[in-house]
């Protein structure tokens, strides 16, 4: 796939001048960004945005605002061109610990999500089974979450959120604590979910620079701009955005082994260190 073969379509998610304060202390200041539909003729390509930033820079706060779980002090987040702020449930959330309802089986958990969109329980059940087959969990539908492995639990949590949300999925630190094999599998899983539908949009919040670069088409670097660390009146913002498509660094298997990918990761890390 070449750079020239893609274009941007409608705006799917818009963060407009979002600021957040806790007890008068600024956490986020004027965060502004948007995610547009990436159109590649003849291909189904979703969007994957990586939000990178040092610990304590407000990534989780922004995450919760995008998810509709918290309200910003000012500004707003909108999805799908709506003129009202995002509401909880419109953006799927996969938390770091992959929470599921422990008192329900895998099927019970997924049916809770599926019946939000599909009232006919038979159709909803068929859709759940289709997803379970797609993600290799078809024989696990009768198990409780505590009986699943970490990877199976992660997939189950992702399916649950995809079934319920409007093509959006926020993932909090999905690469945390994973070994090399699991990290690769998680990257593959993110790409697979993103490319299931043109409108699927995955936002990965992480501090793992290499993993984020390997899976995302765009990167947002969050933090306080250099020189403002001591400025208590300023919260974090998105200080830099990278388009990995223009740099010919995404949608290519084996890209992480190339020198230009390594150079890019180094460039991002250097920027990261300055924050």
């Amino acid at each position: 796939m070449t750079i020239a073969s893609y274009s941007f379509g409608e705006t799917l998610l818009k963060i407009e001048n979002v600021s957040l304060e806790y007890d008068g202390r600024p956490v986020l200041t004027g965060v502004t960004a948007e995610i547009k539909d990436i159109i590649v003729p003849g291909s189904i390509i979703g969007q994957v945005v990586g939000i990178l930033g040092p610990s304590g820079c407000g990534k989780t706060s922004l995450f919760r605002i995008i998810a509709g779980l918290n309200k910003p002090t000012s500004g707003r987040v909108t999805v799908n061109g709506s003129d009202r702020p995002v509401m909880a449930g419109e953006v799927g959330v996969v938390a770091q610990t992959y929470p599921l309802f422990e008192h329900r089986t895998v099927m019970g958990n997924l049916m809770l999500a599926a019946t939000k969109k599909e009232k006919d329980s038979k159709i909803a059940r068929d859709k759940v089974m289709e997803f379970l087959r797609e993600f290799g969990l078809e024989d696990k539908f009768n198990l409780y979450p505590a009986q699943l492995s970490g990877g199976q639990r992660q997939r189950c949590a992702i399916i649950q959120q995809i079934l319920c949300s409007e093509h959006f999925l926020l993932m909090d630190e999905p690469f945390s604590g994973l070994d090399l094999i699991m990290l690769e599998k998680t990257c593959e899983l993110i790409a697979k979910v993103a490319n299931m539908d043109d409108l699927n949009t995955i936002i990965v919040v992480t501090h793992d620079v290499t993993a984020a670069c390997s899976v995302a088409d765009h990167l947002w670097l969050m933090g306080r701009p250099p020189g403002e660390e001591g400025n208590a009146h300023e919260g974090s913002r998105i200080v830099k955005q990278y388009n990995l498509i223009d740099r010919d660094l995404c949608w290519q298997p084996g890209i992480i082994t190339t020198s230009r990918f390594t150079d890019f990761v180094r460039e991002v890390k250097e920027e990261f260190r300055r924050l």
């Binding site: 998810a67 779980l69 909880a88 449930g89 953006v91 799927g92 959330v93 938390a95 610990t97 929470p99 599921l100 309802f101 422990e102 008192h103 809770l112 999500a113 939000k116 409780y144 979450p145 505590a146 009986q147 649950q160 959120q161 319920c164 949300s165």
Partner: protein
């Protein structure tokens, strides 16, 4: 690992046979200590069994049924009341009320009897209300702690699945914590037996095992006292086991993540 070493090793997990052997040996040691105890005041097993036979002939069985039914009734009422109050803490209005009720567990039943007597219409009602009160203040404290301990991420999960706030309460607090209700019930049903003998001592209408226990204690018939205590202990163990079985049947997921399964 050698079983003899394992039983004294921290966090060691034994297989079922080893656990059975351990329990059987400890029971045998307790019985031997009892039989060969040098304390002259401690009645011997034979004396206790003899006293139990005498008490049974004098109607201990009927008194046990009276007490058991009263306790079951009190626990049922206390469970419903406490759960409603604890679940009500999802609304800020009820939180100070429940917090205050929880603090009442420090009060003595003896000092409250007068007020309950004024309100009750019969001896049974008085005993029931005293028991319900004394169990509820502990039950509601336990359940409020369970609800306060629900992690934020479970509420977030429910909200991201587009549940309204009442549905969040139903899914996360009512259904999601039902296994914990059994644990709290188990503890408070045992408290019920402890309070029962006290309540039956304070209010002697209808008799009951507590009345007999106090009478025997008053006359210093230690073998009979031991016999009644042993009977209450066996009934309590049966009750505890039954609640455990009900929990395992209704909440099979509850023990899946435990290292030591009960």
């Amino acid at each position: 690992m050698n079983h003899a070493v394992a039983v004294f090793s921290p966090n060691a997990v034994l297989n079922k046979t080893a656990v059975r052997i351990l329990i059987a040996s400890q029971v045998i040691i307790v019985i031997l200590l009892w039989v060969f105890s040098p304390f002259v005041l401690l009645p011997k097993p034979g004396e206790v069994l003899g006293a139990l036979g005498d008490l049974w002939e004098q109607g201990l069985g009927a008194e046990l049924i009276t007490s058991f039914l009263l306790n079951v009734q009190a626990i049922a009422v206390a469970t419903v009341l406490s759960l409603l109050l604890a679940y009500a803490t999802v609304m800020p209005f009820f939180r100070p009320i429940v917090a205050l009720l929880s603090k009442l567990r420090f009060l003595s039943l003896v000092g409250l009897t007068f007020f309950f007597t004024l309100m009750a219409r019969s001896g049974h009602e008085l005993k029931l209300s005293l028991l319900v009160f004394s169990v509820s203040v502990f039950f509601v404290t336990g359940m409020a702690d369970v609800i306060n301990g629900v992690p934020k991420e479970m509420f977030d999960l429910a909200r991201t699945l587009r549940m309204g706030e009442w549905r969040v309460v139903w899914e996360v607090i009512v259904l999601g914590q039902i296994d914990k209700v059994f644990d709290v019930l188990r503890q408070n049903a045992a408290i019920g037996w402890m309070m029962l003998t006290m309540v039956e001592g304070i209010v002697r209408s209808e008799g009951g095992v507590g009345t007999i226990l106090l009478d025997q204690n008053h006359h210093f018939r230690l073998a009979a006292v031991f016999a009644i205590q042993l009977t209450i202990l066996l009934l309590g163990l049966f009750q505890d086991y039954s609640i455990g079985v009900a929990k395992n049947m209704l909440c099979p997921y509850a023990a899946l993540t435990l290292e030591r399964k009960s």
